[in-house]
Symmetry: C2
């Protein structure tokens, strides 16, 4: 995919629905010229608001449909924007379930101008069913109390800290945003369900005994829509270490107003117990809390209290860094 | 799909790999003219062995590729048989992951003769992501210690017994064999993984309070390859009742020689605990054991000992019938 990118946020109804845009803007700002928002858009990455024409003038090469709505569909009224971007000479990339080329107007505009369409949620890779054999190398998976609670940010921040320490490490993207950021990976939730764990095994192959795969988690074992994806990924990744991710202001499970958020204390056992099927040694090494909606003092108190309550390092990956979790991973690898 | 069928078993290496053929032959023998086996085939449905020409002469209208190998691929050397069947005027149906129309020789032969190709594992139906709302109606899901342990047979036998008693009941097929038998359903393991539980919700919609959906289970929560599918189906089906299915002579998890079969006692809690996410009232109502590889006296002793051990009715759905389990379901519905 050619850079720089223009991030298209459509008119999504909240910040979380634009989490692909936030992820790219937060982790790869140097790849972006700005954002494009339609009237009514409730999300904002903080990048410059540009029209398609302004972005083209600043050299934008690819328009990224940078939203992550539940179900991965695309509103019809976004098509015009995509077609105009193609007409202005940009390629278009999307991480939605709907394929760009299946939209007749988009396919026609791309063909007319010789532009490329990228559907990063899909891969031409074929997978085997999972085998469950223990593979050499170390693996850490981020898991969540809910969807969209910082599993990807935590994994990226752990990877960055490990790279800084000169450790052998790879970030393993399992969703569209992670793939845009790391330019590789597999969108596990777009894989045919028979192959979930097989795809996760392919993504985290045998490696040096002191090499870490830091695997971006998906969904939540406690989310009625996505727990199957979460479990297949957990079994395929066969993690040695788990990090529990949480967003403390969430009122209910994402998209399910009737479903309460589980208490942190009730999350450790189900994840660990399910993980033992493919790795009996699997254990939690830390908790990662997204505190950006709390005051600094409330955030500090919360991290401290969770740490005391569960006897595990508790961090906010952006505010405090992931040092104590990486310490625990280093210790685990040496043991 | 036009009947009668000729069941194609290829040269699969064991009886279980032909479980689609066994399912159709056992539950819908009146729809079949016979079976077609290649040299070396280790499976046998007991139906008459016919050549393609003999089957055509007996009026076979559809060749069913009636195997269920792990991963759903098709050996290349089966293509000739499929092409010849098309040339002889038969349609062809398959429940594999690979689509018949993607095999160039098959697509060409079908086009030439104006024959139809059916890929029952795929559906044009689009699904929403799961919502987890409680729906009216009663639901029973069969779950397993492993794959291929009688979940479908148990569900079909329960359905048959309920129909005999004049109860409101539907068998809900979730795999290719069940779809061939009941002529509807969704192959859950072929659904894109984001939509597993949403597809299960679609398959078991709101219904009368005294109506039962008897849902065919898939995979096993204890199988490293397929537990994600199992969990998504469990959450989407939101069962009121579970029946644990088991095959007592199995030495290891299907296809995973290194993975032991879990003890029955260790299976109830994980299933029930995971099920509570979408149905807190979910409970086990029975155990179903496939005893056909045991002597009659050993079978009787086993059923009795499991019944005593767990305080649940324990049946072999074919040998003893499912009466005691249906009694338990009737009681649950009345309570």
């Amino acid at each position: 995919m050619e850079r720089p990118y223009l991030l298209f946020l459509g008119d999504v109804g909240d910040q979380l629905a634009a989490k692909t845009a936030h992820g790219i803007a937060d982790w790869r700002p140097q790849w972006c010229v700005g954002q494009l928002r339609l009237p009514g858009c409730k999300a904002d990455t903080g990048l410059a608001d540009l029209t398609l024409e302004e972005a083209a003038a600043r050299g934008a090469k690819t328009l990224i449909v940078a939203v992550a709505n539940s179900g991965g569909s695309m509103p019809e009224h976004w098509t015009d924007t995509i077609v105009r971007a193609l007409d202005l000479g940009m390629d278009v990339a999307s991480g939605l379930h709907v394929r760009l080329g299946r939209l007749p107007a988009v396919a026609a505009a791309a063909a007319k101008g010789g532009r490329k369409l990228f559907d990063v949620r899909y891969t031409d890779q074929t997978f085997n069913t999972g085998k469950g054999f223990k593979r050499a190398g170390m693996r850490c998976l981020t898991v969540g109390t809910d969807c969209s609670v910082g599993k990807k940010y935590t994994a990226l921040a752990i990877t960055k800290e490990m790279e800084k320490r000169g450790l052998k490490v790879d970030f393993r993207a399992t969703g569209q945003t992670g793939i845009f950021i790391s330019e590789r990976g597999v969108a596990i939730d777009a894989v045919v369900s028979d192959f979930i764990s097989g795809a996760a095994e392919w993504l985290t192959p045998e490696n040096d005994p002191d090499h870490w795969d830091i695997v971006e988690g998906q969904g939540s074992l406690f989310h009625a829509a996505f727990a199957g994806v979460t479990l297949g990924l957990l079994h395929g990744a066969q993690p040695d270490a788990l990090v529990l991710c949480h967003e403390p202001t969430r009122k209910h499970m994402r998209g399910l107003p009737h479903a309460p958020i589980p208490d942190l204390k009730d999350c450790f056992q189900p994840y660990q117990s399910m993980a033992t099927l493919t790795n009996p040694e699997c254990r939690f090494v830390g908790v990662s809390i997204d505190t950006h909606l709390l005051s600094p003092s409330a955030a500090e108190r919360l991290l401290k209290s969770v740490e005391d309550r569960f006897g595990l390092p508790c961090v906010d990956p952006l505010a405090t860094g992931t040092g104590p979790i990486v310490d625990a991973l280093e210790k685990l690898c040496a043991s």
